[in-house]
């Protein structure tokens, strides 16, 4: 187990290195500069050159990369090129918690509702209920979340004025963004759970459990659920990484000062250091969550041998 985790951490570091290098050079191919200035005057040009020199952007790319990596080794992500006087670490530590609160809320919401719907559909004999859940999940995967966010905002925020639509101040503020972010995962999870639960209900070990005189609902919960949730666990890793890195559209539409909106802003502004910092942060989250989901799968299903 420890050997496995050590190997995964090594691969993770390799991936990070690849990610950092690729992003660094790709980012610099993009035409434009953080200090773009239409002013052709000599003074402006001089100021531009000064800025470039100040941040070391006038040095050869490989040398800049070396300097950046040296800083990174000391945990220094540099200062933002656009937001004067703010370090990248500062920006991440103020925006990430906002996104994470929304992300975790959405994650818990999706898991609870998705698994609940899936199991209800799988166990119910009612065709109508089954078809309803399937229809709901198909609609859920078919409506892009930016359209859903827009729709929710207009209907419940602007016309009906039931829920607030700006920021994340009170629990009520969470309602619309959470739904907007969660619809797709809820649909996916309910579908996964339903299919695997139906498969599990047909398994021989369910009959054996029943033959021991165990009550029906205990059989379902004790013997069925754990087996049925295996595919959900595999899906949950990438999902939580995805939710924690934030949704750009939802954050922008609901004016949430999170990491997702910061990210797109940094790319359009060519804020090189911020782009790098955010990429490292998100890549790290994705790698850690994938590892976590594999470890949890192995814990849920003892047949999975991680060391192999």
């Amino acid at each position: 187990m420890l050997k496995y985790i050590a190997r995964r951490v090594f691969i993770g570091l390799l991936t990070m290195l690849f990610l950092i290098t690729a992003t660094f050079f790709l980012m610099r191919i993009i035409p434009g500069s953080p200090f773009i200035n239409d002013d052709e005057s000599v003074a402006a040009q001089k100021q531009y050159a000064q800025l470039e020199a100040k941040y070391g952007l006038d040095k050869p790319l490989t040398e800049q990369f070396g300097i950046y990596m040296k800083g990174l080794a000391h945990g220094d992500l540099g200062d933002s090129l656009i937001k004067k006087g703010k370090s990248v670490v500062d920006i991440i530590s103020t925006t990430a918690p906002v996104t994470m609160r929304l992300g975790l809320t959405a994650f818990v919401f999706s898991m609870v509702v998705g698994i609940g719907l899936g199991i209800t559909a799988a166990l119910s004999k009612s065709r109508t209920l089954n078809n309803f859940v399937m229809l709901l999940s198909t609609i859920g995967v078919s409506v892009p979340n930016f359209l859903l966010a827009l729709f929710l905002m207009l209907v419940f925020g602007v016309y009906l004025e039931i829920f607030p639509t700006i920021g994340l101040k009170t629990p009520l503020h969470y309602v619309l963004p959470t739904i907007a972010v969660s619809l797709h995962p809820v649909a996916m999870i309910s579908r996964l759970t339903r299919t695997s639960m139906m498969e599990v209900m047909r398994q021989d070990y369910m009959v054996l459990a029943k033959s021991k005189g165990t009550a029906k609902w205990v059989v379902v919960l004790k013997h069925g659920l754990r087996n049925a949730l295996l595919p959900v666990v595999t899906y949950a890793g990438p999902l939580i990484a995805n939710l924690l890195t934030g949704s750009f559209v939802v954050e922008t539409l609901f004016s949430i000062p999170g990491i997702g909106s910061e990210f797109v802003g940094s790319v359009t502004n060519r804020d090189y250091t911020l782009i790098m910092g955010l990429t490292i942060f998100m890549g790290f989250l994705v790698i850690v969550m994938n590892l976590l989901s594999d470890v949890v799968s192995a814990w849920v299903d003892p047949r999975i041998k991680l060391d192999k």
């Binding site: 021989d204 070990y205 009959v207 054996l208 459990a209 033959s211 021991k212 005189g213 299903d301 003892p302």
Partner: protein
Amino acid sequence: MSVLSVEHLSTQFTTDQGIVRAVRDVSFSVEKGEILGIVGESGSGKSVTMFSIMGLLAGNGTVTDGRIILDGEDLSPSAFSSEKEYEKKMCAVRGNQMAMIFQDPMTFLNPVLRIESQLVEPILNHTKLSRKEAVDRAIELMGKVGIPSPEKRIKQYPHQFSGGMRQRIIIAMALACNPKLIIADEPTTALDVTIQAQVLELISAIKDEFGSSVILITHDLGVVAQTCDRVAIMYGGKIVEQGSAEDIFYSPNHPYTKGLLGCVTNPESEFSEPLHPIPGSPPDLLKPPAGCPFLDRCPNAMRVCRDYMPETTVFSDSHFSRCWLNQKGGAAG
């Protein structure tokens, strides 16, 4: 009094293609301390009969007729006011008064639970033992069925056991509450030949030690000869012949029984005798025939066999057969 008596049991399944009448008017009984063998090929209704008795039929299966009496208690679904009542009663009976051993040890154990939690389940369900006492009992049972160092192995998962060992664990589960009746549904089919003999011996030994009765379902007549006191032969959802092991092996009456015996090789004969396979395949129980189900494959089929189900002919206290050949020559008609 018999431990189990089944009278006129009929079970059917509703499927997309129509109603499958898997068991049609089956009657038999099991006496205390005996092993009853039920023999038939796949699809003859032997497993369905057992699942009907245990109340473990899949959602689309129902017992439509007949009575199931276990130790004087009526356990037929029709004897209960609602499905809920029936389920409640059966939860108290399953694993307690009667228990079942299944065909494939590879798929009948839950892969994600430790042996411990699966083995203490019937004990906790039916006794007042504490969790710790139940674990002790489980370890004792594992020792009884011949699993070495049970204290260690009880903490393991099913995939860490071989097929034979898993079957022993399933047997231990069935024994947990000293059931009056153990139903073994082809317990050796999925096992290696050497392991088969061990498992059969174990079942016989356990029967003697616990004083249980056993129903042994198999399609292997060799297994029957080795272990069973009495035998019922099933075909097309019906019992076609029933008798003591000697009756069946030395004076078989029904053409199907004779055919089955013709399929058994005799390893002791010096020159291999030719095998006599029974041509054809069993009837389609979506449209069960009005007459004898064996008609199409019977070498002696008569006109009467096509339209009328043969009546029971009694040869002795324990030997019956359902074949028109016995009435030929004017007994009925």
